[in-house]
């Protein structure tokens, strides 16, 4: 085999069969030809970053390509399997392969939404509005349901009337941080997807 590295070989693969066909399967020619074609790829000149698939816990590594456009906006161009990973060796399932449609979506919630008790619709509100209200709710519910000492005289310092659930989509560090904060608020009802 010529001196192309595995990564270069993959790029040749990406460049398409036309290069190989045009060169009559002459592999050396194909390398030269593909170098030119690569300049036209959607990911040409893109920034290459690493991620991990957001779905099941096989932990397939992803390569993500981005480019900063002239308006300063960062555009996500492509997500594909990372060929270096000992876990997935570049492969992805239908979910991982369409991860771009999860990453960038017109269906995203664009701003904080608030629905008052009994209201029949959402209201778009500011972050300050929701964060203040939630902080007040947490304090009120904590103070109303806090048990400092149980019936046997044991110090238990627990908040019985607030629960927190979630986390399987958190980065680990976010999950740890949530545990640290929620336990310090006295929560005992703390759960995520492990049981369900």
């Amino acid at each position: 085999m010529p001196t192309a590295t595995r990564r270069e070989f993959l790029k040749i693969g990406v460049a398409g069969a036309s290069a190989l066909a045009a060169a009559g399967l002459g592999f050396d020619d194909a390398v030269a030809e593909s170098t030119k074609i690569q300049q036209q790829l959607r990911i040409a000149g893109a920034k290459e970053l690493h991620s991990v698939c957001p779905y099941c816990a096989v932990g397939c590594s992803l390569v993500a390509y981005t480019r900063q456009n002239s308006d300063g906006k960062v555009e996500l161009l492509q997500i594909e399997g990372d060929p270096d990973s000992p876990v997935n060796e570049g492969r992805l399932c239908p979910k991982g392969a369409t991860a771009m449609q999860l990453a960038v979506s017109p269906r995203r919630v664009e701003s904080p939404q608030y629905r008052a008790p009994g209201a029949t619709g959402w209201k778009s509100v500011s972050w300050d509005f929701v964060l203040d209200k939630i902080a007040q709710n947490i304090k009120a519910s904590r103070d109303a349901t806090f048990v400092a000492t149980d019936g046997n005289g044991n110090t238990v310092n627990r908040t019985e009337g607030i629960a927190f659930a979630g986390g399987a989509a958190f980065s680990s560090e976010e999950g740890y941080f949530a545990t640290k904060l929620m336990r310090s608020l006295g929560l005992v009802h703390l759960e995520q997807q492990a049981r369900v």
Binding site: V109, Q113, S172
Partner: protein, 805 residues
């Protein structure tokens, strides 16, 4: 997983129960196929439904859902009756030789110590016969003593004959015997089997004991701790592993330390009631010895200067729950009017259930609900779901737009415990904010309210460490460093949890991650992968020690001292885990002191994390029995052939009954068919209802109906059908299939119906449906009951009726 994805290629036999990796974990499944294609491994798939996993398996067993304890029990009995166990391993590396004290007994489906009025066991009799002088367990290495674990176990499992197993599981006797023969060969030292399962195997009232059954079988065959072996849970969400490790779970603190209990006043009380106790002179009891150090270092990390020796390192800052506070309990408390507020992040209670209609009632009983998610969920929208009068729902609801995984950095931990760092690829879309920034900001506002207005016990809130450059915007890199922990004297990052102290001079956020982020940098970012296999995987075993970082201490196969024999040689030299080279242990990162000579009479036993030092065939760690026992699902069409008087689990917690609510369980008279639920390749739970390509691939909700049953009801593929349970209904399309079929169980014919879980009243499909997906929630059918140990809901075995609409 005790092992990891790539390691499955090292197996000779792959036993898969209930799981469907070819469809639910397709890319991980390549390692199953590598084992089959490269080394001729056999795959045995036991599942109610013939799936793509079955299609490439060497043997497919159609099993009745919820009966895997009997299936494993039959395999264990086969191994014991025919002396096919790994003799040296069983004598030396398990508690087979330990003697059990008089008083332990099992009769007619009940273990000793049962209290019918509390539906619970007093487990005092489930313990070892100890030597009065040393306090250690008595042992009989000949395994002949009738009170030895080995003999008690042999007696317990003798009831699981092939005929009995067949009558419970529905697996024909001949098919079962063929699999038993294959499994029996795996006790030879040069053979190794892996057991692979997913969360579905835990979704039974016997869920914990199902998993234990597999572990018992693996210990008998000498397959724990070995490459190609182990108990391997394929986890279902990108970072469910990492966030279990970090204890978003009511009963633990980070690193699987128990949550303290009422009555414990000091660290010493806590350790005495929580840590494993040494029960053999050669047991190191590493976890038990260090339990207090891990706890104190965590408290010091959280409460800093406020955690001092004189105040027991702020032990009273940690809440102490009165009783179970798990997933179903949250909604049970809400139904009772005792839960005021709920925060949900990346998780939708309304779809997950169980008993979604009851859960939605619980949401309506809350004062306030906060949903943090990138996309709308069935929980954020529950108050105006189809058929709901929004004006009547008094819950105050907040929907906070959170960022996606690709808009932030941080690590994801896969099923194999590999913690892989990811980059922030793109900036947040719209006004979306990171979950941890939202939580940090809320916390700071709560703190300000306590500071200005006072309130109940603000001490833990006031003194919580927040050593971040911006307290409302902590960087995940800063938190990763914190999790690793540091030496407060030198300021250096800790390199191993073995160096953590209980005097307040060290910190950690989660001791099992100590060693992941050193002064030299973040090891989770490492990328020495298959671009250079010779350099990056020198043993060829697939450890790839320079790719990311795995807990604990970058070990790739847990309990790996058991991969070597008494002399430290690999059981199979072609597949070494760790081996003794005369001076030290080499290979994988040893789960053992690196230079402990195995020939030293004082050498530690192989399993350093429990008090015995050996694997537990008999255990008092479960609330429903020291040995697994088959019980029928709460809803079952047949009585338990082993003990009809105690047919279902006698200790499963019945929420509705305990709360005085009406019974929501059905009987076979009204609901004659067994149902189970599962995922499809193209969807993951509910979030993919927002992904156009995936909705195109699997656009509409359906149920799978066995052809024979469909025939009797005149149902054809594409017809609309109603599947109902005592709790609710789904109205979806029928898919008539031969993948499911009639089974003979306890002498009668039973049918199983399959229900994919993915649809609801939110998403692209629902938007284009006239009813807006009103009756699409699969978990409207499932029962509000769970495993006695873990309270995992019984999602996978319940009764329904089926009608053509």
């Amino acid at each position: 997983m005790t092992n990891h994805w790539r390691d499955i290629k090292n197996a000779d036999l792959i036993l898969i129960n209930g799981a469907n990796p070819a469809e639910a974990h397709p890319v991980g499944f390549q390692w199953f196929m590598r084992a089959k294609l490269d080394r001729g491994a056999k795959i045995v798939h036991a599942d109610p439904r013939f799936t793509r996993t079955s299609a490439v398996a060497d043997t497919y067993l159609r099993i009745r859902t919820g009966t895997d304890v009997a299936y494993f029990g039959g395999l264990i009995n086969h191994v014991l009756q025919n002396n096919l166990f790994h003799d040296v391993y069983v004598r030396n590396y398990t508690n087979a030789s330990f003697l059990v004290k008089d008083g332990y007994a099992f009769s007619d489906g009940l273990f000793s110590g049962y209290n019918a009025s509390t539906r619970s066991y007093n487990i005092a009799s489930w313990s070892y016969d100890t030597d009065a002088a040393t306090g250690f367990a008595k042992r009989d290495l000949t395994l002949q003593n009738p009170r030895s674990v080995f003999q008690l176990m042999k007696q317990h499992y003798s009831r699981y004959t092939p005929d009995v197993v067949s009558s419970i599981t529905g697996i024909p006797v001949d098919d079962f015997n063929k699999v038993a023969d294959l499994v029996g060969q795996m006790g030879k030292p040069d053979k190794v089997m892996t057991i692979v399962y997913a969360v579905g195997l835990t979704h039974h009232t016997t869920g914990g004991q199902l998993i234990r059954s597999g572990a018992v079988l693996q210990l008998l065959l000498g397959n724990m701790g070995r490459p190609g072996g182990g108990m391997n849970a394929e986890r279902g969400h990108a970072n469910i592993q990492g966030n279990t490790d970090h204890a978003i779970s009511w009963e633990i603190l980070p690193g699987y330390l128990k949550i303290p209990a009422p009555g414990q006043k000091t660290i010493a009380d806590y350790v005495a009631q929580s840590a494993p106790k040494k029960s053999d002179p050669n047991s190191w009891n590493f976890f038990g010895l260090n339990y207090g150090k891990f706890m104190v270092s965590t408290l010091k990390g959280w409460y800093g200067a406020a955690a001092t020796k004189s105040n027991e390192f702020a032990f009273n800052f940690i809440p102490k729950p009165a009783s179970n506070a798990s997933w179903m309990t949250i909604y049970d408390q809400a139904l009772k009017g005792k839960m005021e507020g709920l925060m949900l992040s990346g998780m939708t209670a309304a779809s997950i259930g169980p008993d979604s209609n009851q859960v939605r009632q619980a949401l309506a009983n809350l004062k306030w609900l906060v949903v943090m998610d990138a996309l709308p969920t069935t929980s954020s929208e529950f108050w105006h779901a189809p058929g709901v009068d929004a004006g009547q729902v008094k819950t105050e609801v907040f929907m906070l737009p959170a960022t996606h995984w690709i808009e932030k950095d941080g690590s994801f931990v896969n099923s194999g415990r590999w913690s892989q760092w990811k980059d922030q690829v793109i900036p947040p879309q719209g006004q979306a904010r990171h979950d941890h920034w939202i939580l940090a900001d809320i916390f700071q506002r709560v703190k300000a309210l306590y500071k200005s207005g006072g309130g109940k016990f603000p001490d833990p809130i006031m003194s919580l460490t927040f050593d971040y450059k911006d307290p409302t915007k902590p960087e995940l890199d800063e938190i990763a460093k914190e999790i690793n922990g540091k030496d407060l004297g030198t300021g250096k990052q800790m390199t191993s949890f073995a160096n953590l102290k209980d005097d307040g001079t060290t910190t950690t956020g989660d001791w099992i991650y100590t060693g992941s982020y050193l002064d030299s940098g973040n090891l989770m970012k490492r990328r020495a992968g298959i671009q250079d296999p010779k350099a990056n995987d020198p043993t060829g075993m697939g450890f790839y020690a320079g790719w990311a970082w795995s807990w604990p201490l970058n070990r790739r196969v847990m309990y790996n001292r058991a991969s070597a024999d008494l002399d430290g040689k690999a059981w199979d030299p072609s597949r070494p885990g760790i081996t003794w080279n005369g001076k030290s242990w080499v290979g994988d990162v040893p789960d053992y002191p690196a230079t402990m000579d195995p020939h030293d009479p004082a050498a530690w036993l192989p399993f350093i994390m429990n008090g015995e030092g050996v694997g537990r065939l008999f255990s008092n760690g479960m609330v429903d029995g020291p040995f697994p026992e088959h019980y029928e699902p709460i809803e079952s069409p047949v009585a338990n052939p082993l003990h009809a008087a105690n047919s279902a689990s006698p200790v499963a917690f019945l929420y509705d009954k305990a709360a005085g609510r009406p019974d929501r369980f059905g009987t076979a008279t009204e609901f004659p068919y067994i149902a189970t639920s599962y995922r499809l390749t193209e969807h993951e739970h509910y979030v993919t209802q927002h992904v156009p390509h995936l909705v195109q691939l699997q656009p509409k909700p359906f149920v799978e109906i066995p052809a024979e049953l469909a025939g009797t009801k005149g149902i054809k593929s594409g017809d609309r059908v109603r599947v109902s349970s005592k709790r609710g209904k789904v109205e979806v399309l029928a898919l008539v299939t031969k993948r499911l079929g009639p089974m003979t169980v306890a002498g009668q014919t039973v049918y199983q119906i399959g229900i994919p879980i993915h649809w609801g009243y939110v998403g692209i499909s629902a938007d284009s449906d006239p009813s807006h997906g009103r009756y699409w929630l699969a978990n409207a059918l499932t029962p509000f009951v769970g495993d006695a140990n873990a309270r995992t809901p019984e999602f996978k075995a319940f009764l329904v009726n089926l009608e053509k609409i």
